[in-house]
């Protein structure tokens, strides 16, 4: 295509104007245009067109963004997505030249363990308030639930028995995880308090439990052989730790 003798194509003219032409071909196209006035006029008209478009619409960029498009307003919902990667990118782009803001965003970029735990907590908050449809498969079908989630997730999903902690299995559901499916199990105590166990594939090698909390909920995260676990519950950290311990021990015994 770089041969001088090859005539310039229509596609190449467009690519030339749009800066998509390989550098080594540019001179050929320019030489060709110098000898073809009609085509040169056409190329010029495309440039004028781009200028008209910018003249007409660039002012939109300068307009103040209407309040209804402010991220903070869009965020007024139960889930806290604001720290997610997309929101961070949006804010960073909006902030544009404001270096302080961009740096601020980078410093707050969540680690794999943090965003994994945030996903689990989102699922927890979303489903524990459900009265009629908290799960897809009920706890009365424990074997089916385990077999189904194991098949869909690709690792052994095991619903531990937490009756010693005063919790009964409500059931479970399949969720989209950070990189593929996630399993989600829900347990309920005598006074209606709910705990959930979220598992999904993770890169994190953290075998030690880590604690995270939001205003109302707490979560414990750990990873084992490529699978991340998050046990979420209320703000009672001691009870949460006991529940998580039980989950951990039974998963160990079960050899998952």
């Amino acid at each position: 295509m770089n041969d001088r003798n090859i005539p310039v194509t229509e596609d190449e003219l467009h690519a030339y104007v749009d800066g998509e032409l390989p550098a080594e071909r540019r001179a050929d196209v320019e030489a060709w245009l110098a000898a073809h006035a009609e085509e040169a006029e056409r190329v010029q008209s495309w440039r004028a067109m781009a200028e008209m478009l910018h003249a007409r619409y660039d002012s939109v960029v300068q307009e103040p963004v209407p309040a209804r498009l402010e991220l903070e307003r869009l965020e007024r919902r139960p889930r806290q997505w604001l720290y997610g990667a997309v929101a961070a990118a949006l804010v960073a782009f909006v902030a544009g030249g404001a270096a302080g803001w961009v740096a601020h965003g980078a410093a707050n970029a969540p680690s794999a363990f943090q965003s994994f735990t945030a996903d689990a907590l989102d699922a927890h908050r979303l489903y524990v308030v459900e009265v009629r449809h908290p799960v897809e498969v009920g706890g009365n079908e424990r074997d089916h639930l385990q077999a189904w989630l194991t098949r869909r997730c690709g690792w052994t999903v095991f619903a531990p028995n937490l009756e010693a902690s005063g919790l009964k299995l409500v059931g479970g559901r399949l969720l989209p995880g950070p990189s593929g499916p996630a399993s989600f199990l829900m347990y309920e105590g005598a006074s209606g308090e709910r705990y959930t166990i979220y598992t999904a594939k993770t890169e994190s090698g953290a075998t030690q439990m880590r604690y995270a909390k939001t205003d109302k909920d707490g979560a414990l995260f750990w990873a084992d052989r490529g699978v991340g676990y998050v046990v979420s519950g209320g703000s009672d950290r001691d009870r949460l730790t006991k529940v998580a311990r039980a989950v951990y021990d039974q998963a160990e015994q079960n050899g998952t």
Binding site: E10, D11, H14, A15, D18, E20, R42, S45, W46, M49, A50, M52, L53, H54, A55, R56, Y57, D58, S59, V60, V61, Q62, E63, V65, P66, R68, L69, L71, L74, E75, W81, G84, A85, V86, A87, A89, L90, F93, V94, D119, P176, G177, P178
Partner: protein
């Protein structure tokens, strides 16, 4: 990022409110389905959502009667007012896919590759849409009636 999305939406719809509705829906959808975002370029992803939402919007509009503006009133137009009106009219003559390609390349400065990903078509299709769009707009600006003119 949001100002650029608004510019694209405004040119795509040529309607201030419809454009901001589109941007709002795009942001809401992006934030809501954030966990489905598998990495890559956030910018392209947002333009993809907006382009698809606009397709749905047009589909539902097609079932309603169309209202045409009889008088031009552009509060934000200045000296280049007439030119702005012309380019707006010219954009209106394009079919949706061509308008989208033209704006993504010429106004938003996207590469052919990015536009191909956004529209979910091969690069060759992007280039032929772009060529047709430019021919139509040129004809429209020159006062011809593009509908009567066959463009290869």
């Amino acid at each position: 990022m949001i100002p650029a999305l608004r510019r694209y939406a405004r040119a795509l719809t040529r309607d201030v409110d419809a454009a901001d509705d589109l941007v709002q829906d795009t942001l809401v959808r992006a934030l809501r389905s954030e966990r489905l975002f598998l990495g890559g370029d956030v910018r392209s992803w947002l333009y993809t959502i907006l382009t698809n939402l606009n397709k749905n919007r047009r589909r539902s509009l097609a079932r309603r009667p169309q209202f045409m503006q009889l008088t031009e009133n552009n509060p934000d137009a200045s000296g280049t007012e007439a030119e702005g009106r012309d380019i707006e009219k010219a954009l209106a003559t394009l079919v949706e896919e061509q308008r989208s390609v033209l704006l993504l390349v010429m106004l938003e400065g996207m590469s052919y590759r990015e536009v191909a990903d956004i529209q979910g078509v091969p690069i060759g299709t992007v280039m032929s849409r772009l060529a047709r769009a430019r021919a139509h707009v040129k004809a429209s600006l020159e006062g011809e009636r593009p509908a009567l003119r066959r463009v290869k």
